[in-house]
């Protein structure tokens, strides 16, 4: 959670006018918010931190990202309190009209709790937090498919205690990502990320924002975030 967001100003260029403008929602207890901001800014987005108590989203947003962390300490249940924050009314309304929304880890949990994505995230199979690099395979990332051909495998870290994705397998979700190696948390069908029916809301447990800098390890998060940003260009409504 950051009070003073260190926003990296992206390079000015020919594409400056079509630069995606992403709001990053900050709850008390969010803690990958600055990581998300600098990763997206580094990939050319304009980013703005949005406080959870705000009742309106900033003007001109073309996308929203809900970062990882422990909003409200994960007390009660991960994401269960954050969904009631005022800003979430706006996120829900704008998502319904096609605004791109990305939720990572705790952000994914919040999107499931608020009904923007199907299914639920429950404690890992072995009841422990797990932090390690895992391989995931791209399947159907909905609107965020630019440069992401199905079957592509990416190495991205996970870090969560409640990341086992549970879904009624008779009414399957659109699976964006699946764990390609051993299932690290007991998710149904090794699902690592899903996209909404309309294709504009994406939730994933792996942290692409922690895999964008070669100094820190894998850079496989960059193609995922680039695909999200490609989906955020334009007027913010479903094409």
């Amino acid at each position: 959670m950051s009070s003073v967001a260190q926003i990296v100003t992206p390079k000015q260029g020919a594409e400056a006018d079509v630069r995606p403008r992403v709001g990053i929602v900050v709850f008390p207890g969010s803690n990958d918010d600055r990581d998300m901001a600098s990763a997206l800014a580094g990939l050319g987005a304009e980013v703005e931190m949005v406080w959870h108590r705000d009742r309106t989203l900033p003007e001109g947003l073309t996308g929203v990202a809900i970062p990882g962390g422990f909003s409200y300490g994960d007390y009660l249940r991960a994401g269960a309190m954050a969904r009631f924050s005022p800003v979430m009314r706006q996120v829900e309304a704008r998502a319904a009209t096609g605004l791109p929304v990305l939720g990572v880890c705790n952000g994914f949990q919040i999107l499931c709790e608020s009904g923007l994505l199907p299914g639920a995230l429950v404690p890992n199979r072995d009841r422990r937090f797990v932090c390690r690099d895992v391989w995931v395979r791209v399947e159907d990332p909905g609107r965020f498919d630019a440069g992401l051909s199905p079957g592509r495998e990416l190495e991205i870290p996970i870090k969560h205690a409640r990341g086992a994705y549970m879904i009624d397998l008779k009414r399957p979700a659109r699976v964006a990502l699946r764990y390609a190696g051993p299932n690290p948390n007991g998710s149904n069908d090794a699902i690592a990320g899903v996209v909404s029916e309309a294709g504009n809301v994406l939730g994933l447990m792996p942290h692409p924002e922690h895999a964008v800098d070669p100094l820190l390890g894998s850079t496989d998060g960059a193609p995922l975030l680039r695909a999200f940003l490609a989906g955020c260009r334009g007027d913010g409504t479903e094409a």
């Binding site: 959670m1 950051s2 003073v4 207890g29 422990f70 994960d74 007390y75 932090c131 100094l215 820190l216």
Partner: protein
């Protein structure tokens, strides 16, 4: 705690000696009130006053070119260039973690985090040095699981990466486990804040969680006496942590400090409101007036005694410029934390506390805070130590199966992979972790700079038990080597000195010997001690003390974080070299302990000049981008170090160790100090050897990387996969 008349009996119940009580009567010129007695008991407890250790700690080197603030502040502060400073400290939370492993370890992490951000720094990395009795015992596994989960739950939720530490086992920790938590933060050098209550008339602000009845007498009784049968009943003295509130407290604190309205700040740690306000007033030479009716409390009916001595977590005291309190209160309101004026700074040098309009405490600050008792306790070498130091190499049976011995060591609780532990920690939050846990030291990128910081903790308790002077030297030397193999120049030290009951002469002797060893090594390696903590009374009545455990936390600096060198072999066909001198040494070794159950002999010889040459070579080689891997040799010797580099890089090794005239066991598993294995592109070997000569470091090409086996002459030929599986799966096999 009985609430009754204040007299000698009550003072004894508070852990005060008869002499100390007499001194209180003398200072006050009257009988203390119960809250006053409570205050003296915590302020003069071993934990808060360092009364047994003070005179010895004064012998440690604490100054250096880069040191901005040394011992005495909340944490040590060292300049790292680019206008930035590293703020770091290690602290024990041993007794609470034994009584209540999850909450005890969690609040240990919380306490050290507050020490860092109280100074204005944003915490960047946590390390935890944790020690238990034999893992084969169910209760020790219960304690280990609880401690690791406590560290994970607190650190992960708070949002600071946990990147290193140690896990070790020894029967001596069976009834007194150790949990030493370290944190490193970064601050701009001109934005460092101190615990000073300056400016007469300035308001005193309380910020954070409300005060409850938890943790009363944690410092004075739980941390300052031996364990006994009744210790389990002290569970209510263990505080309960709330990382979510700590996360909000961090942001509220850092934004309050940004306003420029804050004059001084102190977190509420051991002994709560009492200790913190005394320290602030004492540091500034002022007095404090506090109204307990204004302190936010969790329940009605709390007595002044309880409010003053509560160790409820996640609380701060701020001294703010008069007239700007509303600004700070409004800012903190955003984080939904209690923030209110509870008192003001006075000029009379007294601590005056009012409750319901009645003065309940009125004592002079200086005699309590600065003139606490100091003891020169008697010392005596433990009986039988000389006998246990005896070891004839001829007594050791010849190893018939070196490969089997290697696999046995790799799969032992002492040496197997720690991934079961560190995978439960968020190692990545804040996107700064360049080298993750599993190697010799973690390396963090410094936010807003190209520089890197390497951090490591180290102590071999077997060495320290068998030779405390040499053991402490080796702990410093190895910790420095751990950061140097990554390419970082060792910069400064924080220490956590865990010992038994100082009232016993043999414990005091161990302590003084360790401090002497640490002082000599820190001086020779030019790494000043800038912060730390002493934890005495780590023993259970009738069961003896823990082995002396002076845990060293080392900080090193890399000019370029991108030059950091990992421990894992990085490419097939690289040349592998052994640096340093291998002697015929097996005393106090892991090999003897594991294979023969012998805990005797003397630890390896220390040559601090050679250590320093090796470290300078490693730093220069990394900066010159000559190395592809570098790994320190420690427990298990060359064979174990080579296997670790091979396993973690998933690349085999083939070669021969030097020392043809020495015993096979010493060549493979001996723990001679001042050594490392490095690998490099074959085209760079000449440059590496040249640099080694220039630094006077013995260097020998011993083999090359590649294949799917670990083949070490003499006598080792094992499959890489088999070694990997035995090494990596052991903790999970025992703990899941």
């Amino acid at each position: 705690m009985s609430v009754g008349a204040v007299n000698l009996e009550a003072a004894r119940n508070h852990g005060l000696s008869d002499e100390e009580y007499a001194r209180i009567l003398e200072i006050l010129g009257r009988t203390p009130t119960l809250p006053e007695l409570g205050i003296f008991s915590v302020m003069w407890s071993e934990h808060c006053s360092y009364k047994s250790s003070k005179r010895w700690l004064a012998t440690l080197p604490t100054k250096g070119r880069d040191v901005l603030y040394g011992p005495g502040e909340n944490a040590g502060v060292v300049a790292i260039g680019d206008g930035l400073a590293a703020v770091f400290k290690i602290e024990s939370h041993n007794h609470p973690s034994f009584v209540e492993p999850h909450a005890g370890a969690a609040t240990g992490v919380g306490g050290i985090l507050r020490d860092i951000f109280t100074m204005g720094a944003r915490p960047l990395a946590s390390l935890d040095s944790i020690r238990f009795g034999p893992l084969e015992e169910a209760h020790q596994r219960f304690l280990l699981r609880g401690v690791v989960k406590g560290i994970a739950d607190y650190g992960n939720s708070f949002g600071c990466a946990t990147v290193g530490g140690e896990l070790s086992f020894h029967p001596g920790y069976r009834n007194n486990i150790l949990v030493n938590a370290m944190n490193l933060g970064i601050v701009e050098v001109d934005r460092i804040f101190l615990a000073k209550a300056s400016g007469v008339g300035n308001p005193l602000l309380y910020l954070g969680s409300r005060t409850g009845r938890d943790g009363i007498h944690g410092a004075s009784l739980l941390a300052s006496s031996d364990f006994d049968e009744a210790s389990a009943e002290m569970r209510p003295t263990v505080q309960i942590g709330d990382p979510f509130t700590e996360n909000k407290l961090l942001e509220a604190t850092l934004s309050a400090l940004q306003t420029g309205a804050v004059v001084g700040i102190q977190d509420l740690g051991a002994a709560g409101l009492t200790c913190s306000s005394f320290e602030m007033a004492s540091n500034a030479g002022t007095g404090i007036e506090m109204d307990l009716d204004r302190v936010p409390v969790r329940e009605v009916g709390m007595t002044p005694y309880e409010i003053l001595l509560s160790e409820s977590q996640e609380r701060m005291l701020l001294v703010v410029e008069a007239g700007r309190e509303d600004e700070v209160i409004a800012l903190c309101g955003r984080w939904e934390l209690a923030c209110t004026v509870v008192g003001r700074i006075t000029d009379d040098g007294r601590m005056r506390v009012v409750s319901s309009g009645e003065v309940v405490v009125d004592i002079p600050v200086d005699p309590v805070a600065a003139s606490a008792p100091v003891y020169d306790r008697p010392r005596a070498e433990p009986a039988g130590l000389r006998e246990r130091q005896q070891l004839e190499l001829g007594e050791i049976p010849a190893e018939k199966d070196p490969g089997g011995a290697l696999l046995d060591l790799l799969s032992s609780p002492a040496l197997c992979s720690r991934s079961w532990v560190y995978e439960q920690y968020d190692q990545l939050v804040q996107s700064s972790t360049v080298l993750r846990p599993g190697g010799d030291a973690a390396v963090m990128r410094v936010p807003g700079s190209a520089r890197g910081l390497a951090v490591s903790t180290d102590c071999n308790p077997r060495y320290c038990e068998l030779d405390p002077y040499r053991g402490a030297q080796l702990a410093v030397a190895e910790a420095a080597r751990n950061v140097a193999v990554t390419g970082a120049r060792p910069l400064a030290v924080t220490n956590c000195l865990n010992f038994g009951n100082p009232e016993r002469p043999e414990i005091m002797w161990e302590f003084v010997e360790c401090v002497r060893g640490m002082a000599d090594a820190c001086s020779a390696l030019e790494v000043p001690v800038v912060s730390g903590n002493v934890s005495f009374y780590n023993e259970t009545r009738g069961e003896g003390a823990i082995p002396p455990t002076p845990t060293i936390g080392m900080l090193g600096l890399l000019a370029e974080a991108s030059d950091a060198v990992g421990a894992a072999f990085a490419a097939v066909g690289d040349t592998v070299l052994l640096l340093g001198e291998t002697r015929e040494e097996l005393g106090a070794s892991e090999y003897l302990a594991r294979r023969l159950g012998w805990e005797r002999g003397r630890p390896p010889v220390v040559d601090l000049a050679a250590e320093r040459c090796l470290q300078e070579f490693l730093v220069e080689a990394a900066a010159g981008k000559l190395l592809r891997s570098a790994h320190d040799l420690s427990e298990g010797g060359a064979a174990v170090a080579l296997s670790e580099s091979a396993i973690s890089g998933w690349i085999g090794f083939e070669g021969a160790l030097p020392g043809a005239g020495l015993r096979v066991e010493a060549r493979l598993f001996g723990e001679s100090a001042g050594r490392a294995v490095i690998s490099c592109d074959p085209a760079r070997v000449e440059a590496v050897l040249h640099l080694a000569v220039r630094h006077g470091v013995p260097a020998a090409v011993i083999g090359r990387t590649g294949g799917d086996r670990i083949r070490i002459d003499p006598g080792v030929d094992v499959g890489l996969r088999e070694a990997h599986d035995l090494w990596s799966g052991k903790l999970s096999e025992m703990l899941d």
